[in-house]
Every structure is written in structure tokens, then in C-alpha cells.
């Protein structure tokens, strides 16, 4: 009897301590702090971000300090999550209705979240906010985070993709630098002259993101105006064929085996690629490259088109502090101190139409042709808005990979992709 008693007691104690430690904790966020004697309620909002890490955490903290100074009764707790895992975590939180009050989201994923009703409609709050002036944003920027005519957040920043080129390699081959009116043919000619001695003339990846831009540069498109997939159109097939020919026919672009795991950016910095399409986020990273380089508009075929990637901040539908959330969204998007900090630290560019912002960006020395970043905006396209964007992207990338290694022809691959995407989009 004694040992049964001892055992049961032990068991009960174990279970009890576990439960007690658990239930003892109080839910901090969302509670009004009665301790302070301020006229306004003390409010804490949670903010999740992916773009702040790993290099801009101090910049984010500076912005949050400024925000808290301007709004003394609001505390912001931030959380940095690596981009690759960001949406895994967000989806879990969305399912259990525990999304942070405000969080960063990129344009590609915004539609899915808005459609699933997990975002807060801030149209009314924005309208009744007298300090918010829409015209301070660049044209069209306010529409990025609108869904079915309701506003869910504001664009925090943008980045775009341009062509970087190694001036020293061009000089050595006696070639002219890329001009704004270059077409794919001009690029091919230069690339062929540059490809020698372990250097490749050009590089642009064969995957979904490059795809929707490159087909647009040939007058094609992945989806039509009604959102129906048009993946295997004639223009698209031509464009993809060009993307693959550069590697397999003309040998001016390294194949995945030739790259053997190196990233194109690393290869460019090491002088192994002469022309590289990559984003404005590399301006800072290439700054200490041991050669002269500059940027130019991308060569196109029929239409000049550039990538524009847009990140915004939205509020969750179950936030208890909608007003504080809106204030933070507005601050990160248009506040002069925040935007100045963003440009100075090279943390992408704000979407404000502001001379001062432009000037401070253009005044950074390297590279010379910084205005290309703004010029590319004029012919910029955002990713296609489609529900289940990540599934569509996966299916298309599958077919593209097969085409790259020659397992299917370009036409077969795109036909397959069309069929698969039609099923997803239905």
C-alpha cells in the first residue's frame, strides 16, 4: 500500500507542477496597463518582420525608437523571422488566430491572406486619419495592398531588378557598355565576346520570378487580364527558349552544373559573370567588389519590363489595437525620419515621392548610374496576383527545371505547366 501511495503522490506532484507553471503565466499582450497614470491607455503591439534580419535589426530598432517617441503610449515588440520560414510560422498563427498585431508581407502572398479574411480592413481608419495624405506615396503605390477595393495596409518599401555589369571585363574585351535601348540580340553579341577564360557573359536564373518578367519582355504574360493562365502562349515559349538557349545553345550563361553550387551573386563578385540580373538589394553587397561595375536597364525584346518587388505592412484581423496598428503602418511607410533612415542604411527604398529621398539615394557614390533604379520603376511590373501563389510557383518551377536539363522541350514543359496551373487556379 505504501509504495502505491508514494507512486501516486509522485505522479500527482509531477503533473501538478507542470500545470501550475503553465497556468501561472498571464497573457501580456493586449492588456491595458493599469499601473500607469497616463491619460491614454498604454498599448503594446507585436510586429513580425523578415526583412530586418540579419543586417538591419539596428535600423529597425532605431525606427521603432522614433515611433515610440512620437507615440508615447504605444510599445512595439518586434520579432525577426528568417524569410524562408516566415510564412510557415505565419500560417500556423493565422490558423490559430494568433497573428501578431502588425506584420510584414510581400506582394505575392498578400492576396492569399486578404482573401482568407485574416487581415484587418483599415479603409475606414485611413480615411478618418487627418494626418495621412495619400499623395505623398508614389503613383499607384496605395493600390498595392488593396484587395477588392478595401485597404489592408501600406507599402513599406520596394526593390527592383536591374542589370549589373562588370566594366573592367567590358573594357578588356573592347566592348561598349550596355545602353538603355539594348535588346536581347545586343546582349547576346556582347555576351559571346565576353565568354572566355572561365568568365561567362551573362546570367539570369530560369525560375518563376525571372519567368514572368522575361515573357513580359517578349510581349507575353503568364496570366491574362481575367486571371486565367496563359502559360503556353507563343510569346512565352519563345521567351523561355531564349532563357534556355543562352545556356545550352550559345553557352554564354553557366548551367547549374557549371555553377556547381555557387550563387550568381558570388560569381559576379568574383569576376566570373560579366552581366548579371539581380536586385537593388545587392548595391550594398557589391560595394567592395575589386573591380569597376555599374548598373543599366535590362535589355528586352519587344517591351522594356523590370521586376518590382514590394513589401508592405498589414494588420491582423484579430488585433485588439487597430488604431495603434494603423499608426505604425503609416509611420513605417511615409514618416520622414523612417524613410530617411531606410535610404541611408540601404534597406530598400520607400515609396514616397520625395525629392530629398531621391537626392540622398543618388548621392551615394557607387555605382554611377543610380538613377537606373528609379528609371526601372517606370517600366516595372509586380508579381502576378494569383491565389495559392506558392503552389503555382512550385508547379512552374518543376516544369522549368525539367526543360533546363533537357528532359522535356520548352513547349512540352509549358503545356504541362499550363495544365497543372489551370487545375490549381480553378
Amino acid at each position: 500500500m505504501k509504495r502505491k501511495l508514494a507512486a501516486t503522490l509522485l505522479g500527482i506532484t509531477l503533473v501538478a507542477t507542470t500545470m501550475l507553471t503553465g497556468c501561472g503565466k498571464t497573457n501580456e499582450s493586449g492588456k491595458v496597463d493599469d499601473g500607469k497614470n497616463t491619460s491614454n491607455e498604454e498599448v503594446t503591439i507585436k510586429y513580425a518582420t523578415y526583412s530586418a534580419g540579419p543586417d538591419h535589426i539596428k535600423d529597425l530598432e532605431a525606427m521603432i525608437d522614433e515611433f515610440e517617441k512620437q507615440n508615447e503610449n504605444i510599445n512595439v515588440e518586434y520579432e525577426v523571422i528568417g524569410f524562408n520560414d516566415y510564412f510557415t510560422k505565419l500560417q500556423t498563427q493565422a490558423t490559430s488566430k494568433t497573428l501578431p498585431d502588425v506584420f510584414e508581407i510581400n506582394y505575392e502572398n498578400f492576396v492569399t491572406y486578404a482573401n482568407n479574411g485574416v487581415l484587418k480592413d483599415v479603409t475606414e481608419i485611413a480615411k478618418s486619419d487627418e494626418t495621412f495624405d495619400e499623395s505623398v506615396l508614389t503613383k499607384g503605390a496605395i493600390d498595392h495592398f488593396k484587395y477588392q477595393d478595401k485597404l489592408y495596409g501600406l507599402t513599406e518599401k520596394f526593390s527592383n531588378v536591374v542589370m549589373y555589369y562588370n566594366k573592367d571585363l567590358f573594357d578588356a574585351a573592347g566592348l561598349e557598355y550596355p545602353k538603355p535601348d539594348w535588346t536581347w540580340k545586343d546582349e547576346l553579341k556582347a555576351a559571346q565576346a565576353l565568354t572566355k577564360d572561365g568568365v561567362y557573359g551573362t546570367y539570369s536564373p530560369v525560375q518563376y520570378n525571372e519567368l514572368y518578367k522575361t515573357v513580359a519582355q517578349n510581349g507575353g504574360s503568364l496570366f491574362d487580364a481575367e486571371g486565367k493562365p496563359t502559360i503556353n502562349s507563343k510569346e512565352n515559349i519563345e521567351a523561355v527558349q531564349w532563357m534556355i538557349d543562352k545556356m545550352n545553345k550559345y553557352n554564354v550563361q553557366p548551367t547549374p552544373e557549371q555553377m556547381s553550387g555557387k550563387s550568381p551573386e558570388d560569381m559576379f563578385k568574383n569576376g566570373e559573370i560579366a552581366m548579371l540580373r539581380t536586385g537593388s538589394w545587392m548595391l550594398g553587397v557589391f560595394a567592395d567588389a575589386p573591380f569597376n561595375w555599374d548598373i543599366a536597364l535590362e535589355p528586352a525584346n519587344t517591351d522594356k519590363v523590370h521586376h518590382v518587388f514590394v513589401d508592405g505592412i498589414v494588420a491582423s484581423a484579430n488585433t485588439k489595437h487597430a488604431d495603434a496598428a494603423w499608426k505604425f503602418i503609416k509611420f513605417m511607410s511615409v514618416d520622414p525620419t523612417a524613410t530617411k533612415l531606410r535610404v541611408e542604411s540601404g534597406w530598400d527604398l520607400p515609396v514616397v515621392d520625395n525629392e530629398e529621398v531621391r537626392e540622398s539615394f543618388l548621392n551615394i557614390e557607387k555605382p554611377e548610374s543610380r538613377e537606373v533604379i528609379f528609371e526601372a520603376l517606370e517600366t516595372g511590373i509586380v508579381p502576378p496576383t494569383v491565389l495559392n501563389y506558392s503552389r503555382v510557383q512550385d508547379k512552374i518551377n518543376e516544369e522549368l527545371s525539367k526543360a533546363v536539363i533537357g528532359q522535356v522541350t520548352v513547349e512540352e514543359g509549358l503545356n504541362e505547366a499550363q495544365a497543372k496551373v489551370e487545375k490549381i487556379v480553378k
Binding site: 509504495r3 513580425a48 524569410f83
Partner: protein
């Protein structure tokens, strides 16, 4: 003559295999102590010239790495200790004590091992949320302590210990608890060390659960930190390799200590 030749061939293959397995770690260590550009010109001279502790200095100053290291150690150690205690107790019960429906319950335990974690992680998260345990160490540690695999392992080890020993202790007047803690547990040392190493490794490397459950620096573990170091567009390999090296060292030490018992433990389950 024949056996000697075979031995040489075997040794050569083993050495080649070992070299292949070690190369990534060697590269990682070199980059951690130099910088990522060394990959393009990895000559002995360059490596010696570029050798520095800068990367380590950077990650300890720019990020809260010390705290993350502590968090990981705390979570891993507490989870492992809890697992040892709980699983050995339940393993002992299943091995030695007969109660109604014992077999059915044990079968249920085993069945839970077949359910992939992806199926249970969201309900588990919701459960933690309802108990207000999100972003606490309790949430990080608690689920890992109850391991069906651990129970199964300990049951096997206890089942293999001759009943005679337990009966002898009982005859000497030892109570139930004394029998367990002073006789059985020491005899199951090999099993416990297997459990300790696998448990520590699982807790140390766990990524998905800490990702969901921790929302700030004070609860972030090393795997999360490594993921955060990988920027959206670009990875700073020098820093990442230094951080990875730091996260590999503790588990290496644990394994070295437990190695003797580990191998003994696997041998014993096989023989008996």
C-alpha cells in the same frame, strides 16, 4: 596473406569515406575562421593569412548569440533530464508491473510514434496558446519530455535486466521506489545514455517547434538564429559558418562523453 590484403582495402575505403564525410566540416571551420571569399582561393598560405576570430567577434556583438547559446543549452538539458526521468519511469512500469490493459496501452504508445509531427504540431500549438504558454521555456521544454520512443527504449532495457536482481533487492527489504532508483536505474545506464544522447540531439536540433513557439530574443534557440542569419536575398556565409560551428560544438562534446555508453548500449540491446 589474404586477410592482410583485405584489411588494407577495408581501411582505405574507410579512410576515403571518412574524408568525404569530414570535408564539409573542414570547409565550415575554415570559412568560420577566415571569410567566405576564401572559397575561391583556398591555398594554405591564404588560409593562414586570413585566419582571425573576427567572425566570432561579430556574431557575439551584432547578435544576441550568447543568449541563444544559453537558451539552446537550457532547453536541451532540461528536456533531456525530463525525458530520462519520465521515460525510464514509464519504461520500468511497462516492463515490470502488470496492470489491466497494459498491452493495449503500450500498443497505443507505439502507435503515436507513427503519426508525423506535421499532423500534430498545429493542434499542439493551439493547445499551448490556450494555456498561455506561447513564448515561454515551459512550452519549449514540455512536449519533448514525453517521448514514446524513449519509453519503448527504456522498456526494452528494463525487460532485459534479469528479474533475479530485482527480487534480490526486494528480499533485502527495499521498497518500490528504492528498487527503482537505486537498483534498476544504475543497471540501465547504457539505455539511459542512448536516450540522453538522442534526446539531447533532438532537442538541440529542433527547429520547427521553437520556430512556432518563441517570439523574442529571450526564447530563441540556435537553429532559429541560424535561419535568421540567412537573409532573403543573400547569405553572409562567414557569419553563418561561425554560428554553425558554435552550435555544433556542444553536441560534439556530449557525444564524446556518452560515446562509450552509447556503443555499449547498442551492443547490449543486440546481444540480449
Amino acid at each position: 596473406m589474404k586477410t592482410k590484403k583485405n584489411n588494407v582495402v577495408v581501411y582505405i575505403m574507410l579512410i576515403l569515406g571518412a574524408i568525404v564525410m569530414i570535408i564539409p566540416f573542414v570547409w565550415m571551420t575554415i570559412v568560420a575562421f577566415t571569410n567566405q571569399d576564401i572559397t575561391y582561393n583556398m591555398t594554405f598560405k591564404n588560409v593562414i593569412n586570413a585566419w582571425s576570430l573576427d567572425n566570432f567577434k561579430n556574431i557575439f556583438t551584432s547578435y544576441n548569440t550568447g543568449r541563444y547559446l544559453f537558451n539552446s543549452m537550457f532547453v536541451a538539458i532540461v528536456t533531456t533530464l525530463g525525458q530520462i526521468l519520465i521515460c525510464s519511469m514509464s519504461g520500468f512500469v511497462f516492463a515490470r508491473i502488470d496492470f489491466k490493459h497494459k498491452d493495449k496501452i503500450f500498443l497505443l504508445y507505439l502507435a503515436t510514434m507513427m503519426i508525423p509531427i506535421q499532423a500534430t504540431i498545429i493542434p499542439q500549438y493551439i493547445l499551448m496558446n490556450k494555456m498561455n504558454l506561447i513564448n515561454t521555456f515551459t512550452a519549449l521544454v514540455l512536449p519533448g519530455m514525453f517521448s514514446a520512443f524513449g519509453t519503448f527504449l527504456m522498456r526494452q532495457h528494463f525487460a532485459n535486466i534479469p528479474k533475479a536482481l530485482e527480487e534480490a533487492a526486494c528480499l533485502d527489504g527495499a521498497g518500490f521506489i528504492r528498487v527503482f532508483f537505486q537498483v534498476m536505474l544504475p543497471l540501465a545506464k547504457p539505455g539511459i545514455s542512448v536516450l540522453a544522447v538522442t534526446g539531447f540531439m533532438a532537442a538541440w536540433n529542433d527547429f520547427l517547434w521553437p520556430l512556432l513557439v518563441s517570439s523574442d530574443d529571450t526564447h530563441t534557440t540556435l537553429p532559429l538564429f541560424l535561419s535568421q542569419l540567412q537573409g532573403r536575398w543573400y547569405v553572409n556565409w562567414s557569419e553563418l559558418m561561425a554560428a554553425t560551428l558554435i552550435s555544433v560544438i556542444p553536441i560534439l562534446i556530449v557525444y564524446l562523453f556518452a560515446q562509450r555508453y552509447f556503443i555499449e548500449g547498442i551492443q547490449n540491446t543486440g546481444i540480449k
